[in-house]
Symmetry: D2
Subunit: 427 residues, 4 copies
C-alpha cells in the first residue's frame, strides 16, 4: 500500500531543521495543486500587521504537523509499543499533512461572514474530484474516507484522531513553535523533543509519562502566553474587525444589487454561497488582497475606506473595558450616526476568549481530548488533577472587552460628544 521513496527527501525547515519525506504518497500529496495552494494562505491571517515576521504560510505549518507526527510514530515504532496500531502509520501521516488543506484566506473573517468552515472544506477537498483525492485513492480505495474521518474526528480509532487533534497534538505543537519563531517572540518555546519522548500509546489513547508533567505544563503555559501575547493581540484583532466589516459591507452591497466597478469572478460564488471545489482553489490570499485593492477604489465610500485602512494599516484604535455599559454604547452609536459615520461598520466590541486547557468533562459534546498522565503503576490521571499550574490556567478566562473605533474621526468630533463619552474616549 505504501511505497517507500527510493531516497528519502528533505525540506529545509527553520523550526524542525529538516522535514523528512519517506513515502511516495506523502511526496505526491505535497505536489498536488491543492496542497501547493497553501503557500498562498498565510498561517496567521492578519497577525503580520502586528508582528511583521508572521508572514509564514499554512504550507509550512502543514509540513511541520506532518513532521511532528512522523517523529512521534517513528518513536512508537522504534520502541515497538504494542498499543500502537502500526497499520495506521501512513493514514496518520496523510491526515496530519492534510488537516488544514481546506483553509482559505483570512479564514476567521470569511467564515464569520459567509458561514464557510475550513474543516468541511478540508473534507470536501479530500473527498472531491481533486489531485489530493486521486493520490489518496492510489494508496487505498478507502483512504479518502478515512482521512476525512480523522479530520472530522469521526474516525473510530481515538488514538489516531488524537495525534492530529487533541489538547496535545501535532497541530498545536507545530503552530506554537512556528508562530513563536516567525513572530520572534519567545513565549512559544517548549521542549518538543522531551514531550515526544514521554508520549506513549496506551489502551487506545495517547498518554504522557508522569515524569514528563513539567514539560507539558511548560507547553500549556506557552499556549496560554501565545494566545494572550500574539493571537489575541488587540492590534491583530483590530485588523480582523476591519476585515470582517469589509466582507459584511461587500456582502451587503452585493445583496443590495450595488454595481461593483470591480469584482473578481471567483468571489461571485462566495457571495452566492455556491462555491465549488474548483472555485475554492482559486480563492487564495493573493486574490483576496487584489480584491481589497480594487475595492479601495470602489465608489461606495464605506467599502473603499475600510479597504484602504486595511491595506495601509490605518487600523481602528481600541480601548479596554472591564464590562459593557449598554446605554453608553447606544449613545456612542447615536453620536457616530449624527456625524455621518455608520456604527455598523465603524464600531465593534470584541471579546477574545480561549481556555488554554480544558479539563475534560465527560459527556459534554465536542470535547477536546484531554491530556492523560501515566504513572509508574500504569494508572491514568487527567493532568489538571496532578498539576496546580494546569489547574490554575484551566479556568483562567482573561478576556477583556475591547472597543474598536476610528481614532481620527473621534479626535475631530470629541468635543461635541457628551461628557461621559468624552471621558471614555479620551484615554
Amino acid at each position: 500500500m505504501t511505497t517507500p521513496l527510493h531516497e528519502e527527501k528533505v525540506f529545509k525547515d527553520p523550526v524542525h531543521k529538516y522535514i523528512y519525506v519517506q513515502d511516495q504518497t506523502i511526496w505526491d500529496l505535497i505536489n498536488t495543486k491543492e496542497f501547493q495552494r497553501l503557500r498562498r494562505i498565510r498561517q496567521l491571517g492578519t497577525c503580520f500587521l502586528t508582528f511583521h515576521g508572521a508572514e509564514h504560510s499554512r504550507f509550512s505549518h502543514s509540513l511541520g504537523v506532518y513532521e511532528i507526527t512522523r517523529k512521534i510514530i517513528s518513536q512508537f515504532e522504534r520502541n515497538a509499543y504494542v498499543d500502537w496500531p502500526k497499520e495506521e502509520r501512513l493514514l496518520c501521516l496523510c491526515a496530519a499533512l492534510l488537516h488544514d488543506v481546506g483553509h482559505g484566506p483570512f479564514s476567521h473573517s470569511i467564515e464569520k461572514t459567509f458561514g464557510t468552515h475550513h474543516e468541511e472544506w478540508s473534507c470536501r477537498i479530500v473527498l472531491g474530484d481533486t489531485e489530493v483525492n486521486q493520490v489518496l485513492r492510489q494508496a487505498s480505495p478507502t483512504f479518502p474516507q478515512q482521512v476525512a474521518g480523522i479530520i472530522a474526528k469521526t474516525y473510530t480509532h481515538e488514538i489516531v484522531v488524537s495525534l492530529v487533534s487533541s489538547q496535545l497534538d501535532a497541530d498545536r505543537m507545530d503552530y506554537l513553535l512556528r508562530d513563536a519563531y516567525f513572530t520572534g517572540v519567545n513565549y512559544g518555546t517548549f521542549d518538543l523533543e522531551r514531550i515526544l519522548r514521554v508520549m506513549r500509546p496506551y489502551q487506545g489513547h495517547i498518554v504522557v509519562k508522569e515524569s514528563g508533567m513539567h514539560a507539558v505544563e511548560d507547553y500549556l503555559m506557552s499556549r496560554y502566553q501565545m494566545y494572550w501575547q500574539v493571537y489575541f493581540h488587540p492590534v491583530t484583532r483590530s485588523a480582523e474587525v476591519i476585515l470582517h466589516k469589509i466582507f459584511q459591507r461587500a456582502k451587503h452591497l452585493y445583496e443590495s444589487s450595488y454595481s461593483f466597478r470591480f469584482m473578481l469572478p471567483p468571489l461571485l460564488n462566495l457571495f452566492n454561497q455556491a462555491l465549488t471545489v474548483d472555485d475554492y482553489y482559486l480563492l487564495d490570499e493573493a486574490l483576496m488582497q487584489t480584491a481589497l485593492m480594487q475595492w479601495s477604489m470602489e465608489e461606495d465610500r464605506t467599502l473603499a475606506d475600510l479597504c484602504s485602512r486595511f491595506l495601509q494599516r490605518r487600523l481602528f484604535q481600541y480601548i479596554t473595558l472591564e464590562r459593557i455599559d449598554d446605554g453608553q454604547m447606544e449613545r456612542l452609536r447615536a453620536q457616530l450616526e449624527r456625524f455621518g459615520i455608520d456604527p455598523a461598520y465603524y464600531l465593534e466590541i470584541d471579546f477574545p476568549s480561549d481556555l488554554s486547557y480544558d479539563v475534560y468533562r465527560p459527556g459534554v459534546h465536542d470535547e477536546k481530548l484531554p491530556i492523560l498522565l501515566l504513572d509508574s503503576k500504569d494508572r491514568l490521571t487527567e493532568i489538571s488533577r496532578k498539576s496546580e499550574i494546569v489547574r490554575s490556567i484551566s479556568g483562567i478566562h482573561m478576556g477583556k472587552y475591547h472597543l474598536y473605533y476610528p481614532q481620527e474621526f473621534i479626535t475631530k468630533h470629541l468635543s461635541q460628544f457628551d461628557p461621559d463619552l468624552q471621558k471614555l474616549l479620551s484615554t
Copy 2:
C-alpha cells in the same frame, strides 16, 4: 528638523529582537502607504519555492536595514567620533529605510522583461507626489533630493552612501541574517555585534579596525555561502526562468494584439511601459499572483501552461553543464520544435554569477565601495591585501551553466532524440 518621539516605539523582530523608532519622521515614513506596500512584496522572490520559510517581505528587511544603520550611528555618537558628520543622522536613517521602497513583485524577472529598475522607482517614489515625499519634505525641503541622492549613490558624502550601499553595508548585513533566519539555513550567520563594534568613521570613509578582520572574513564567507546555497539555488532559478518566460510570453501576446480573457488593469501600463507612480503602487505581488492564476486559464496554451507550472510548482528540471556546446543546443532546440514545443519558452541556459567580494579597482566605473582596514598606526589597507581568505573568494567565479527544460516532455520523447542528446538528458 527632527522631532524625537515622546516615547520610543518598538517593533518585535525575529532577527534583531526589537527595532527601535525614536524619530517622528521615521515613524511617519513607516506609516505611509508606499512603505506599507512593501508588506506585499516578498524579499526573496521565488526562493520560497525552494525554501518554504522564505516568505518574508521587503517590509521587514527595510526595517532591519534601518535598525542596523541606527545601531551603527548610535555607536558613532556614543563614542563621539569626530569624523562622523552628526548632522547626517536622520538623513541616513531615512535613506536606509527607503532604499528598497521601489521594489516591485518578482523584481528580477519583471525588470529583465520590461526594463524597469527598482532603484529608479525608489527615487521616483521619494521625489514624486507621494506620502513618502510629503513626510520627507516636512523634515526638510531638501530631504527628498538628498535621500534620492543616497539611493542613486550620487550624494556627495561617501560616508553616508557607504552605510547604505557598499561591500559592508546595512543592507547586506540585514539580508544575510534575515534570509538565513527565514530559510532556516545557518550559512548567513556572522557576528553582527562585533562588526558594528569595529566599524569607524574615518576621513570620509567607513572603515574597520584591523582587529575585526576575521569577523569581516566570516561575513564575506556567509555571503559567499548564501549566494551559492540560497540565492543561486538551481530550483529557485528554475522558478525564475519560468516567471521570466511567462512575462515574455504575455508581453509577446500583448504586442501581437492577442485578446486576453483576463487582464488586470494596472498591468496594461506595465506592458505599455507607461507606469505612473500611482500605477506602481497597485502593482504588488498579490496582483501579480492573481494575474498568474487568471492567465493559467487563458486560451494561449503556452501562457496557461507556464502559469500553472509556476503556481503548482511543477518547475523545469535542470542539468549542470561545464560549458555550452552551441551545436548541441541548436540540435536540442530543433528536436523540441519537431515535437511541437517552442524552445523560446521551454528551454533556458542560465549562468548565475556573483563575486562575493570585489577588490577595489580605482577608476573602474560603478565600483562597489571596498572594505578598508584601519591598523593601529592609522593606516588604511584594502582588506584583500591582508586576508588570504578574502583574496581567495574575491576571484572565485563558481558559476556553472544550468540547462532548464520540462522533464516530463523530455522523458516522453527521449528515445527519439539523437544519441548525444539522449546521453546529455538522461542523467
Copy 3:
C-alpha cells in the same frame, strides 16, 4: 569619583553576547584576586552531576549580573527618568558585580555544616584588607561600607537594593538565563529585553509597567520550572546529601581527634571555625575536590566511601514519599545499623522547597521585595493581585519528600528487611 575607561572593554559572553565595561573601577574590581577566585567556584555546585553542561563558574554569573544592572541603569539614563538617583550608578554596578564574591565551594553543604554564610563573607571581603576593598576605597572612602550595605540589604535606598536583590532583580534574571543556557534546558528563557524595557524607577521603587505583566509572568514561570526541573532535581540533591554527609563525617572525625592521613592546611581553620579572609581566598573548589580525592584514600571507611561515591558519581538512590512515617523511618534506621551501615551517614530525608513568588506581606521580617505593576493612571498594584498565573504559583508548594539511601546495599539485604520496608524500597 568614577573614571570612564579610555576605550570600552568587552567580554564575550554566551548569554548576553558581550559584557561592556566602561569604568576603571569595574575593570579594576574584575582584576582583583578575590574576584578572579570566583572562576574556581562553580555556579551550580553539584548540579553538573545531573546536567553535565552546568560547569560554569560564579565568575561568569557575576559578570552577567553586572551587565544586566548596567543595561537597566543605562535605560533609566537614556530616558532621563527623574525618579532614578543618577549618582548611585557606580555604586549599583559595584554591588551587582560583588554580590556573590563571598561564595565558597559547594556553598550549600559547607554552610549547612560549618555555619558560614556567603553574604557575610561578601561583606567581609568588601570591608576587609583585600584588593577589592582597596579598589572600592579609591572610588570613594565610603564605598566599601555602602557596597556592603547593599549586599546586606541595609542600605537606605530601597531602589538600589532592589536592583540587586528583589523578586525581579539582576541576580535572578542572570542566573535563570545562564543556568538554562549551560544545562541546555529551555525552561529558563524569558524575554529579558522586554522586561528591561518595562522597568521604571518610581517613587523609590523599581516597578514594572502593567503592559509588561505577561513578560513578568513568563519570567516567574521560568523560575518555577527551573526550581523543579534543575535546582531541586533529585539527582543533584543526592549529590548534595552525600557532600553534606562528607563534611559532617570529616568534622566529626576532626572533633574526635581522628588522625587524618591527608589534611590540606586551609581546611583546619574551617574546622576550627576560625577562617580569616586570607584563608577564605585559598578555599576554592579545586582545593575542596583535592581534599575529597585525598579523603577517598583515608582509613576511615565511611569518609573514604562517601568521597569515592561523590567523585565517581555513585550517588544515593532515592524514592519519593508523599509524607514521612516516623515509625517506618525508625525501623529503617534500625535495619541499616543491624547490617553495619550507619544511618547517620547513609540515610537522608530531603524536602526541597521554594516559593516561586512570595506575595508581599508587609511587616513580615526579611521579606523579599515584591513586584509592583504601574498602570496607565500611575497606580501601583502588587502583581499577584492582577495575575491569576502569579497568584496560582505563589502558593504552590510542590515539595515532596525524597528518601536517599545506597541502593546496592539495600539490594543486597532487602530480603531480610521487614515486609513493609521491602515494599517501600522495592519500587
Copy 4:
C-alpha cells in the same frame, strides 16, 4: 556481545539537545571512575581565561563525540548501506567515547614539559587494570585491544578509524560546535545535520556526497575561524606560556633538589616520569590548581610569582612580530637579566600554527585522512581539487610571532633600555 538497555537513557546536552545511550556497555563505560574523571579536566585548558564561558569539561565533549558517532552509524544502518561493516558498531561507539580518556589537566603544557602523551594514556587506560578495561572485556575479550588500536590509528579498518579520527570526524565536529557554544562565539557553527546526511561509507572509506561540498566548506571555514579566534587567541597562549614556565621551573627546582614547602604526592611520580595508571587517575585539574595555589606560597620567588600570575590572571603582555630578529632578542634577554629578571621564565616567543585542512599527500607519514567527495558517477575526488575555498585555506599559514613578557616590569625599566628595544616594546 552487546546488550541493549531495557530503556534508552538520555543525557541533556546543550549542543545536541539529548545524548542517547542504548547499550549496556556504553552506560557502564560512562560510569567508570576513569571516565567520570574527565569531569575534572577542562576541555579547553587555559582558554577560560580569555573566554570565561569555556569552562566545559572533556566529559561533555566525550559524550558529544559518542553521540555524533552514534548518529552517523544509525544513519548508515537506516539506509542499509552495504559498505558499512555493521559488526563494528559497538566498537566504534566505545572508541568514540574513550578516545580522550587519557587527557590530563592542561595537557598541552604538561606534555611539553614532561613528555607524556594523551593518546598513549588513553591506550594505557583502555589496556590496563582499570574499570574501563573490565567493562570492555565483558563486551568481548578482544575489545580493549581493538579500541586501543582505533585510538592509536593502527586498527585495520580505515573506515572505523576515520569516524573517530580524520579531517572530518566526530571529534572535530563536536569540539567545534561545543567550543563555539560555550565560548559564545558564533564561528564554530555549521550544519551538522546536513553533513551527517551526506556522509556515506564507500569502499572502505567515509566519503561525502558531492552535493554536500558547500556544507563541508562551511565546516572547514568554521575550523579555520575557531583556530584563529579562539584556540590561538594570544591571551590564551599567554596563559599557556606562563603555565609551561611554571612546570619548567618546578621541574628544574625538583631536579635541583629544592626543598618544596608543598608537594602533593601524585606530582612526585610525574616529576620522576614514573606515573602509573593509578597515579594518573589522581592527576586531575583540581589537584593541579591546588598545586599552583600552594606553589604561589613557595619560597622560590620565580615559581611563586608565576603561579600567582596564573591564578590571578595577571598574564604576560604580548606584541606581534612579523619575524624574529635574533640579535634584538639577545639584547632583550640581556637587559632583562641586568634588571634581575630571568629571561628563561619571563620571555617567550610563540608561533601558533595549524593547517585548517591538509591536502592529502600519499606516502607522507602520519597523514590525516583526507575528505573525499563522491560524485553522481561514483568517482572519488579529494575535496581541495573541487573547492577553491578549501584550496585557499589549505595552504594558509597565518601564524605570526608573538613575544610575551611581563608588562609591569618593562614599563618600570623601559627608559633604561636601548632605543631599538624601547621602540619595540612601547606599542
